[in-house]
Amino acid sequence: MKLFKKFASFVLASGVFFSSSTFADTVKIAFIEPLSGPYAASGSQGLAQFKFVAEDQINKKGGVLGGKNFEIIGFDNKLSAKEAVIQVEVAIDQGIRFIAQGNSSGIANAITDHVKKHNKRNPDKRVLFINYSAVDPALTNDKCNFWHFRFDANADNKMDAITDVIAGQPDIKKMYLIGQDYSFGKAVAAAAEKYLAEKTSVEIVGNELHPISKVQDFTPYARKIMASGADAVITGNWGADMLNLGKSLTEAGYKGPIYCYYCFGVGITSVFGEKGVGMLKAVGEGFHNPAPSDEFRQFHKRFKAKYPDNDFDQPRVINALSMLALAIDKAGTADDVVAVAKALEGMTFDSKLLNTKVYMRPQDHQAIQNLHIGDHSADVEFDMDNSGYGMKIFKTVEMASMDSPTTCKMKRP
């Protein structure tokens, strides 16, 4: 009978159907990412970092509003726009007012759109969207809105930094651009064309898009790149497309550098291993070699002790949660998201941990921060994939794209 009761309570409790209780003692943040299926790796890595940062950087330091803790709740969006929208609704129904997401700009577009409509239709249950990783420039340009904050540098900012580095390398004369055929890939290509023309005299010998996740064999692309005589390659590819492109290039005898956005972590660093040295050059805010501070060493140690299989590769999570905590304290409320958003706008965050500054630009809600170009190298203090290889900073662009233009026309409530 006891078991039966258990079963009955399982059936009842498993439903989001009945539960709509709100606990006032924590500030809940819904983390909506793929947590199952083939793309779950990046989702669960992100969740680990969110949970750890919330605990280590916010809650242990006393939380917000005089003692409320951050609570990160993972929701599985299965990398589907439809599921993401459902999970946003479920999260809102559970009384959550902050939505965090970052993997896939397509999903981010769906969420920002949904949040915008939701906030318009339900002024009493408004939510904020903390975008920690989706870099489609449109999110802070044509599609910007008051509820969306991006803590990662966008694709344009990153290309700005990459081309700064390329401009300082006179032996790069011919450049090949290759990317996945979707909005992000196109944004990378367009930004590369623009900045290369502005800053350098590099000749673009190839500019093409390939179908996303559909090419199993990149050898013909590698042949083409070889035949074009390119000195360097720029790509926004991620996942299998990145890995296969890089591998095919090495196999075809390519020796030059590949400037990339996502050529590290989730197994990519370990699979490239020694072959990636001198070839992979990534852009990002998240490289820690050399270590930014002693404090970070301690932080990283604690992280690895808890998640030995994971990398701490998204320090922007620290920025996002710390800035959110500051904004909540400044607004004096975690429920009135308009006040929190207003506090967040224009905030400058000085991180001792990361030894850097982050500025949330009010006109488009784009975080401005230092960007690094890192080399795939064995000479690192913090490796990735526990492979002995990691990203070593060889150039830093301070407050990258601080004055970059935006087409955002933000409507404020």
Binding site: G37, P220, A227, A240, E251, I268, V271, G273
Partner: protein, 318 residues
Amino acid sequence: MDLFIINFLDGLIYGLLLFMLSSGLTLIFSMMGVLNLAHSAFFMLGAYFAYQISLYLGFWVGLLVAPPIVTVLGALVERYGLRQVHQYGHVPELIFTFGLYFVIEELVQYIWGKNFVEYRAPESLDFVAFTLAGGSIQAYKVFMLLCSVAIFLGLYYVLARTRVGMIIQASLSYPKTVESLGHNVPLVFMGVFGVGTGLAGIAGVIAGPTLQTYPGMAFALGSIVFVCVVVGGLGSLFGAFVASLIIGWMKTFAAAYNVGAAEILIYFGFEYPDNVYYHPWRDLWTLTLPQIGPLLPYLLLVLILIFRPYGLFGRRDA
């Protein structure tokens, strides 16, 4: 011209890899009338098993041991799964293999996680075999080529020259007669399913290091294999061979040559629009051959099925 030759070789290697997969699939279909939708899942299992073994015993042991494991697994699936479903007819069988694909994919993620695993080609084959037109071909690719050719010849020999092959050949055309001749057809079925999936396993072992070993590899290659088998003609080994090569070359050459729709449109006298990114036909103007390369096999599939439903070399009544 050199570039053409090197692309030709690349396409050949890729096509032969497809053939390793499609040969097993077509073998199973011709024997049992089942299109094994889980075929690419067994391909993935081959790669993962070989990876696991290679961690301890090296690549070569993996190459030898992983395919038999996949074979046994395939046989067990036939014995305890498919045979149970057989009584309900072909559509449930198809649906069963589809469910199997789903479960294997989940199991692989459950066991090995969701990241890429570090399954590498052996050091002894990690050198440039030869260079053509500034592009090099790795020794491992040559090894892949030799393996696939060996498998083709081996299969051909077994089917054409041995007694087992004769029974299989006969079962292809007259399963009832073969059964009445006293051969244990369920056993033959189990064997063929095992061997068919084993072939997929070998393909996985060999392709794992170059196409990368990760949970999405089955999905990435899954439907293209059906295209090979259906275009070649269901149940025709030779058809699968030809179709695999055609598709290998088709994909390689489509990716290799940047023919743009714009060039063709201009040739036919259309004028390139001023601001192409806001033009209603922008997608057509900016279309290139590599963009649609991966679509071509499916286009071929649909066209073949419309105009020749039994495939290039299939039997009409199949």
